[in-house]
Symmetry: C2
Amino acid sequence: MIPTIKDVAAHAGFSIATVSRAINAPHTVNPVTLDKVRQSIDALNFRPSPLGRQLRGERTRLIGVVLPTLANPVFAECLQGIDELASAQGYRLMLMTTQYDADRERHAIETLREQRVEGLILTVADADTHPLLDDLDRAGLLYVLMHNDTVRRPSVSVDNRLAAYDGVRQLIAHGHRRILMLAGTLAASDRARQRHLGYTQAMQQAGLTPAPALEVDFNAAELSPSVLAHLTSGPNRPTALFCSNDLLAMVVMRGLRRARLQIPHDMSILGFDGLAMGELLSPPLASICAPNREIGCAAWRRLLARVTGNYEALGETSLALTLPHSLREGATIAAISNRDETSTPPKEANSENTYARNVA
Amino acid sequence: MIPTIKDVAAHAGFSIATVSRAINAPHTVNPVTLDKVRQSIDALNFRPSPLGRQLRGERTRLIGVVLPTLANPVFAECLQGIDELASAQGYRLMLMTTQYDADRERHAIETLREQRVEGLILTVADADTHPLLDDLDRAGLLYVLMHNDTVRRPSVSVDNRLAAYDGVRQLIAHGHRRILMLAGTLAASDRARQRHLGYTQAMQQAGLTPAPALEVDFNAAELSPSVLAHLTSGPNRPTALFCSNDLLAMVVMRGLRRARLQIPHDMSILGFDGLAMGELLSPPLASICAPNREIGCAAWRRLLARVTGNYEALGETSLALTLPHSLREGATIAAISNRDETSTPPKEANSENTYARNVA
DNA sequence: CTGAAAGCGCTAACAG
DNA sequence: CTGTTAGCGCTTTCAG
């Protein structure tokens, strides 16, 4: 059905070795022969099977990609970056998602190894304490982490601690003093920990009291009563929330709105990730932006360099590559006026536009 | 480095055939032998290479997935569905994106064929006029389309025409009479055409005049002046927009807000896709929902059934499988009051909440 | 410059 | 129940 190199050889009247050479080393074969072989290839619409090559122990040109989920566009954006470069360079991507589950991470990596991928690009829950990554090191299978924040392993990420620090300082600069950090089930993730560290430092430096990260159920339609209590009750309620990622920020915003809080009037919100979609929101979501697509691209470049042995050429000295983050101003952050400090949330309707200009 | 079946055979003191049988048909081998072989397998941490099997002409357990982009969560949602089922059943996914480009579609399909995938799940720009799909039919390579709206090929989709019809009728029921349909670069897509058909029918049935779909540049931060003119100028400006997909709806909403229009007060918006994220918006986006994840799952099931030859067992009679759509009410649609009909957009700020309850 | 032949890891007859 | 062997599609010595 699908033509093989044999069919081409028969059609052209040469041996399969010659056909192989015509494909892989055209200069070593007589031009006339080459021409005939090429005609046969066209005539039969032959494309060499990668399987044969792969089995021979050649390059498989297969790269495994392991991501927690595609429901969070952060990872979809990274994947776009990887895909763009990889497919342009003739590599194929094998994708597996893990839903942040350690078993599935293990299974994914195993499956991809079996498939003899040349390398792996992945985002795991916690890079430092991950025994599988040690296995990879031991087995000599190349990999690059994305977003995972560790100096111990090859990775591409923003400086999560510093980025969070910058973001929270921004909130403080807008007059906020009671700032809470929210995290999802990601609370056990290396990124979230780094971000909380940055939050803590920014708070302390400003003479404010940092709080432990408040965990929020990502999937619930409403915020739980206990969380809501933390956010709204008493004179010490926070005036600003730093959310560990944009998706969480959006879920929280909905929860707050359902609880009849106005954003940013009653609560300022700062996210993390810089999802493109955040700009489409109303009010546009303020966020600490990671160059997600670029992170994917950079991860690809690093992996390719290592796979092809050009690693030194990249001139990188450390395992962890840190890309610059940026702050995206958005109308979800309002400057706080001192008189507002202790008031309870007002109930009157108020357009977000009123506050949109406060952000400078 | 990676142990092969040979290593296991040597270690266990049996032939490779016995090892192979121990793996693939354990009941045909002496329990004692079986045990020894298994111990060797564990000792060496051997996993059979799929490459060998694949080359043998066995099942590759590889499925190709071809999507336009992951930037639109519709496709990410579908992919989630596919991935969930596929990886649970031991299949591996090879992913390629096309950016709606015909050349890249061709290239993707070709690449995946070379890789000897057992089947393909894809979304193409236009299914009916796609020569590559005819090639697949001819080559006997199985595939299932997602979202593409055609009865000529195996596909899983909602009834785009009917869904659009239902949605636009909803707009009409809310008192809108000047309703415009917007489409992105997708204007040349089969889905968009079907949706416009549904729009047209709903309008005509209500005695209203349908307009051609207005094309909008997806990527522009602002709506173009000419588009904006269509939407806002004159007494005949539309009061409601039906957007060919949710992402477009979000882009349009931002454009309108920048032009100082209030949603839904000055303009009602209805999207298409039912993106999960739409519910997180403010106001929540009204949308015609396709069960994206389920579309992915269904596509997988159909493909698997065909691949394994159990197609008849599915009891499906037609090529096109149509899944039910649903309408998601959202505060982006406001009922229109008659006196508003001819007024120009008012400028005063007004919370979306005022209108949130009008949707019934 | 071209061909014959070995072998990558595995499965499936076919013998024993 | 187990071993021998051929061969999947391809690349790569090694001869010619």
